[in-house]
């Protein structure tokens, strides 16, 4: 049942070299730099997003993901969700307003898979980049590279998926859209949504806590995915796999790495989800096809290379 969590709002990614990272996320992915702060973090957004930023890069000596934030509908919902988390036994941390520039207070918590999440209600509304909200043109001119449309979802690797499921579904009001079950019926992958999208966040079982698999950005068309593949070659960017289609969610996709080894995805299409939809199940025995629908074989690098 919906509890007021609205959508993915931001992700903070650690990078080894800020200069190289900003070039990758702006020139290649087509995000727009919107600000920097005195910690040296760089704020970016995709053009169709209405708030000031969705990706924050932080220079560190180890790549990976610091946290993912979800925007909730309003302050009342934020208060209620915070209370629900505490009542459920989740430890929450208060991050004051403006710790991220132009973002309101955030409620941060870590789930048993070792990943940190945040909820917040306010962020500066700057409107879509390069188009008016009155009689808007179809798209803005001057976008770079892949022209990513929006930050879409994150896939995390870690243990204790059942406990993570309980928090996301029972406390935060997410729905299970798709899952992978092993022959004993244990869920080894869960794709969770608070929207009509097939996933807003996903988890795959892995022994080590807190690993980051990829941050994903939406594109409109398969043509745009192919064009992204061209750009990956033109820029000699490290490719992982694709262009191809997933079985899970049926999205059309390509995976590649940022200069610090964090995996990125751009994708289009994918199924939709309403609250009355029952979860789609893939069998772990058929995981090859579930992940890469065309190859139908497991790609070891995709399953094991993480930051």
């Amino acid at each position: 049942m919906k509890k007021g969590v609205m959508r993915p709002g931001h992700v903070q990614i650690r990078v080894l070299d800020m200069g190289e990272a900003v070039k990758h996320y702006t020139d290649l992915l087509g995000l727009i730099e919107t600000d920097r702060d005195d910690q040296g973090r760089v704020y970016l957004k995709a053009w169709s997003e209405v708030d000031k930023f969705s990706v924050v890069l932080r220079e560190a000596d180890e790549p990976g993901c610091d946290f993912m934030g979800f925007k909730v509908v309003d302050e009342a919902a934020l208060n209620q969700l915070e209370k629900d988390l505490v009542d459920y036994g989740v430890e929450v941390e208060q991050v004051p307003a403006e710790e991220l520039k132009d973002c309101g207070r955030r409620v941060r918590f870590t789930v048993p898979s070792g990943h940190a999440f945040e909820l917040y209600a306010d962020k500066k509304y700057t409107g879509k980049w390069g188009v008016s909200s009155v009689n808007p043109e179809a798209w803005p001119r001057g976008l770079q590279g892949m022209k990513a449309v929006r930050f879409d979802h994150v896939l995390f690797y870690g243990p204790e998926l059942a406990a993570v499921y309980d928090i996301f579904v029972n406390v935060l009001g997410f729905y299970l859209a798709e899952q992978v079950l092993d022959p004993e019926g244990t869920r080894v992958a869960q794709f969770l949504t608070v929207s009509m999208k097939e996933h807003d966040v996903a988890f795959i079982h892995h022994e080590e806590k807190g690993k980051f698999h990829h941050a994903s950005f939406f594109l409109d068309t398969w043509e745009a995915v192919l064009r992204s593949a061209d750009l990956i070659s033109m820029t000699d960017t490290s490719i992982d796999i694709g262009p191809t289609r997933h079985g899970l969610t049926h999205g059309q996709t390509i995976y590649f790495f940022d200069p610090s080894g964090n995996r990125n995805e751009v994708f289009c299409g994918g199924d939709y989800h309403y609250p009355d939809h029952k979860p789609i199940t893939w069998k772990a025995e058929d995981l090859g096809k579930a992940i890469f629908y065309h190859d139908r074989v497991l790609n070891e690098r995709f399953l094991t290379v993480l930051t």
Binding site: L16, P63, Y157, V188, I204, H206, G261, L303, V305
Partner: protein, 109 residues
């Protein structure tokens, strides 16, 4: 431009690496698979090798996979080292074993 010979003692493979090129990239360009390839960005630790002989320059590497103590001992990430002389290397993770050894759930196989 200078060229250097890289000898992988674990597998017995030799390959040429151009000046300014990473060891992993040189290997991949020749279609060889004697070091495991992951992110190619110094982030995942997949391409870890031990340099037994020779000099090289290092790019930025994740501290988790290449902590300073290990780098001292020549344990580095092949995607982030650039030879300055011929190199003799060995695999830290065996190429075939490397992938299987990672911790991803047995349940997913």
């Amino acid at each position: 431009m200078a060229e250097f010979q890289v000898f992988n003692r674990t597998t017995g493979d030799h390959f040429i690496c151009q000046e300014g090129q990473s060891v992993l990239k040189a290997m991949e360009q020749l279609g060889m698979k004697c070091v495991p390839v992951g992110c190619r960005g110094g982030g995942c630790g997949f391409c870890k090798i031990r340099v037994l002989e020779g000099d090289f320059k290092c790019g930025k590497m994740s501290k988790v996979h290449a902590p300073p103590e290990a780098v001292e001992k020549g344990e580095v990430l092949a995607c982030r080292i650039y030879p300055l002389t011929d190199l003799t290397i060995e695999c830290v993770l065996l190429p075939e074993a490397a992938l299987a050894k990672q911790t991803t759930t047995k349940t997913l196989r």
